[in-house]
Amino acid sequence: MIELDLTLQRGEFSLELALASEARALALFGHSGCGKTTTLLAIAGLLHPQRGRIAIGGHVLFDDATGVDLPAPRRDLGVVFQDARLFQHLSVRDNLRYGMPRDAAPTSFDEVVALLGLATLLKRRPGQLSGGQVRRVAIGRALLRRPRALLLDEPLANLHREARAEVLQHLVRLKREFALTTIMVSHQHDEVAALADAVAIIDDGRLAALQDVAAFRARPAAPFTATVVPGIAAAR
């Protein structure tokens, strides 16, 4: 269960988002600047809402009513940033191991490396990787944290066609094999359709609609707030 109820002011932009979803993979979908990434950063503990509640699987990460605001290191989330943020001074192996719990079985490392096809890259530095490889290492690093949930910020953005297909294929496999609660941010219809179970359509910092992915697939993607979900334009 993913529960989000956020009020967050960031400069001129105001986010007022409330939703609850039973979906294992929830996509936050909307135009650039609508508040998707802000929401994701608030879930990760890197931005702090003024008010609200964030809980994943019953685990409360933030609740202003009870004074809970877990710091980012204690949220047990695996975050894959759009710009990957690999540590340039560490090898791929050390990047992958950075967030691994001390008691993690060595097999879990091998398993993730195999799943994401990283075995031949372990000794390289991030600067020696292609865009798709960088994204796969970032996904592996987040997975090896053994997270309660995975947060993906535009996981396929800024990749050329082949790299995009390659990373998408790995994400689909990951979804199938790890069955991990996932919250992803995207403005790409096809990646949401391929990876999400439910879609929260966000417009100007507000929830415009919450759909299951079958309903989302059945509608044209753009302009989504006006045409994808009937009744939204009227509601606004």
């Binding site: 960031r10 950063l41 990760a44 503990g45 890197l46 931005l47 710091p71 980012a72 290191p73 204690r74 949220r75 047990d76 989330l77 695996g78 975050v79 940033f81 710009d83 943020r85 540590f87 340039q88 001074h89 950075y98 967030g99 719990p101 690093r141 987040a142 944290r145």
Partner: protein, 231 residues
């Protein structure tokens, strides 16, 4: 060019005093630089001004303040004397003077180095479960190494050349506090000391040039990047 025994002793002492001084200054400078680069707090400009004071004050004034505080009758000096750790008129006092004088240069260099590390990387490390210490030693510091090395080179050069604060605080005791600049000053004021003065001058120029070259090389290789944050 061969140094005589007294000159060699002064040179060796200068190296010892500078290295120990910079090494002692480093952890405190690192903490202060991190506070300046990564935190906001009330009175920060004043705090920064205080840290840079040894750079601005006449060195003799700094030396006199050290004498008042760490001398045999000073508030800390008395306590050190009682503990058998007296530093006044000893090489450790010269190292303290060197540490104080090198401190602002280290703070400035480290602050710039920390600010050039992308804060988004530190945030990424936090989401991977790393606490502040692990982020600092595992991410921020390794990515600041070139700036740190450049700062160390400059601080060493500053400590090596320290004169005013040292002679005021710990005087000129051969083998204890007579560092290269003090020995040079005394040779200049002594009839017939010109040869030794020239030799020590040459050594000082070479050491300063090497330190300055090392700093420039480190900075050139380091490059700069703007600091970014999520908010």
């Amino acid at each position: 060019m061969l140094l005589n025994h007294a000159e060699a002793v002064a040179l060796a002492l200068s190296f010892k005093v500078s290295l120990v001084g910079v090494a002692c200054s480093l952890p405190v400078a690192m903490a202060c630089a991190w506070l300046l680069a990564r935190t906001r707090f009330f009175g920060k400009p004043l705090f920064e001004g205080l840290l840079l004071l040894p750079l601005i004050l006449p060195p003799v004034v700094t030396g006199y303040i050290l004498l008042i505080v760490f001398g045999h009758h000073g508030p800390i000096g008395k306590w050190l004397d009682a503990a058998g750790l007296s530093i006044a008129f000893r090489w450790t006092g010269a190292a303290l003077a060197a540490a104080v004088m090198a401190f602002p240069l280290l703070v400035v260099a480290l602050r710039n180095a920390f600010e050039s590390v992308d804060r988004k990387l530190e945030n990424a490390a936090a989401t991977l479960g790393a606490g502040p210490w692990r982020i600092f030693f595992g991410i921020t510091l390794p990515l600041s190494l070139r700036g740190l090395a450049a700062g160390l080179a400059l601080a060493f050069a500053r400590a090596f050349g320290e004169f005013g604060a040292t002679i005021t605080f710990v005087s000129s005791i051969p083998g204890q506090t007579r560092t290269l600049p003090i020995a040079l000053y005394e040779l200049i004021s002594t009839p017939g000391g010109e040869g030794g003065a020239l030799r020590l001058t040459l050594v000082a120029v070479i050491v300063a040039l090497l330190a300055s070259l090392a700093a420039a090389l480190m900075l050139l290789r380091g490059g700069t990047r703007a600091t970014e944050a999520e908010a």
